[in-house]
């Protein structure tokens, strides 16, 4: 019942957003400033039928996924180590603080000087997403429950048991929060970098080309595609988290002996 209510509210909010768009478009009465819903959705369907559509979307998705995976692995390892060893944390602090403070555009422009247009989105997204994940993992290790740690030692838990049953489950919420935030950031930075560097294929490249030709309906259509991609990415991530949780519960239940 609660989820039905939530879905209805979501639907209502989306409808209001579309109504505002339509009203603003009628009021402005200019297809260049703000095209109405009909032409934009027609353009969107037209774009989806083009043969290069898949390549554009696929390259953006691959860049985002690649940088996301690199962030997950590198930031998790370094974050855990920094949480465990305070000297490493102190050593990495200036790098992380700099990355958190540098504007996205500066990173993209500098990366464009150093790398080819296809690598820039990947590199920029990595630099922007890394601190988010790193900080979460470092915090997760620092906030491990010292009482539970003491309990594990007193009851003679082996290193493996402690890792599997105490440390990893304690870090999971931090990992999920960090990964979720990093993923949302990665989509935005990849597309922004594509807009500035215009690689051969990419959602951002198409947006930039459409903007240069004042095809606002196309800019909005590609923006809608970017929104769908982000939403779809969030949904897949949530499903993976839910699936892993359900699998763990199932495995836990199998370990419990049947008592009749």
């Amino acid at each position: 019942m609660r989820s039905v209510k939530r879905n209805l509210v979501l639907l209502l909010a989306s409808a209001i957003l579309l109504i505002i768009w339509q009203v603003a478009s009628i009021w402005l009465d200019s297809q260049i400033l703000l095209p109405s819903l009909g032409p934009v959705f027609t353009t969107l369907l037209g774009l989806a039928r083009e043969p290069v559509f898949t390549s554009n979307v696929l390259f953006t998705v691959l860049r985002a996924l690649e940088s996301f995976l690199i962030i997950l692995v590198s930031a998790s390892i370094l974050g855990v180590l920094a949480g465990r060893y305070s000297l490493l944390s102190t050593f990495l602090r200036p790098f992380v603080t700099t990355l958190k403070a540098v504007p996205v555009m500066s990173i993209i422009l500098l990366a464009f000087i150093w790398f080819s247009s296809g690598t820039v989105p990947l590199f920029s997204a990595f630099l922007m997403g890394f601190p988010v994940m790193f900080v979460q993992m470092e915090m997760g290790v620092k906030q491990l429950d010292s009482n539970l740690d003491e309990m594990c030692d007193l009851y003679g838990f082996s290193k493996k048991t402690k890792l599997v049953h105490f440390i990893v489950p304690s870090l999971v919420p931090y990992f999920v929060t960090g990964a979720k935030t990093a993923l949302s950031m990665v989509w935005k930075v990849v597309i922004a970098a594509e807009v500035l560097t215009v690689p051969q294929y990419g959602v951002g490249s198409r947006m930039q080309l459409a903007q240069m030709q004042l095809e606002t309906d196309k800019v909005l259509s590609w923006t809608l595609i970017a929104i769908f991609l982000t939403a779809f990415g969030d949904l897949v991530f949530a499903l993976i988290v839910e699936g892993v949780g359900a699998l763990k519960h199932r495995l836990d239940a199998r370990r419990v002996p049947c008592v009749s």
Partner: protein
């Protein structure tokens, strides 16, 4: 177990000053005392988590090795089931899976949690969580039990139910036990002897209780007198 000439200081606070105390083998010594007078320090030193500045702790042959610690809070692993929370504590001592399973089920059954094996700690009430912790403490192979106010945050009905569950399990396999509490009634119900801290050099009060544990009634005149003595000592300290 004997605390011999123990001295412990935290900055300017002298908690113990050549302090001596003995817990006879396979008995429960209840330790009461105001906050900050070294009750938890005593437990941590017995567990080896803390070293005295001077003096040493002598353990009998049968008291060496495994220690079971019952904490103020249950300290259960939140992502593990009731069954796993007990079974994991047995892995270091019992290599055979069947043996661990049998022992885990036995103790969870004794604390009345045989129906709650697949549940997680967040699905249990406070009392049930503490019962899991009690089952874990008894199931774990140990020669020394250390109890740090484990019944403190429970309502009175639950508190006495758990105290009796504890006594039932302890009588099945008595171990040298140091029981720290704020509550004189709990101390009297559980202990073979009661000791009151408050002076760094010696216990303010040390009294053996000769009434068998199972026959103790909190309304008994001699127990009431002992409780009054304890309360008076605590108030004066």
């Amino acid at each position: 177990m004997r605390f011999l000439n123990i001295t412990k200081r935290y900055g300017d606070n002298q908690v113990f000053d050549h302090f001596n105390l003995e817990v006879p083998p396979s008995t429960i010594l209840s330790v009461v005392g105001p906050s900050g007078e070294g009750k938890t320090t005593l437990l941590q030193m017995a567990a080896g988590l803390l070293s005295p500045d001077e003096g040493f702790i002598e353990k009998e042959e049968g008291e060496q090795g495994g220690i079971s610690y019952l904490f103020q809070e249950p300290r259960l692993l939140p992502a593990s089931t009731v069954y796993e929370n007990v079974e994991l504590a047995l892995r270091s001592s019992y290599k055979e899976r069947n043996e661990r399973e049998e022992r885990t089920l036995h103790y969870l059954d004794l604390v009345g949690l045989q129906e709650s094996l697949p549940l997680y700690p967040h699905q249990l009430s406070g009392g049930m969580r503490q019962r899991v912790a009690i089952a874990r403490a008894f199931a774990h192979q140990c020669n020394l039990m250390l109890l740090d106010e484990p019944f403190q945050s429970l309502d009175i009905k639950l508190k006495y139910a758990l105290v009796h569950a504890f006594i039932r399990l302890w009588e099945e396999n008595p171990k040298t036990t140091l029981f720290v509490t704020h509550d004189p009634k709990e101390a009297i119900l559980l202990g073979d002897a009661v000791c009151c801290l408050g002076d760094p050099k010696q216990p303010l009060l040390y009294q053996k209780i000769h009434i068998p544990r199972k026959a103790r009634n909190i309304g008994d005149a001699s127990l009431l007198a002992l409780e009054a003595d304890l309360v008076e000592t605590l108030v004066r300290s």
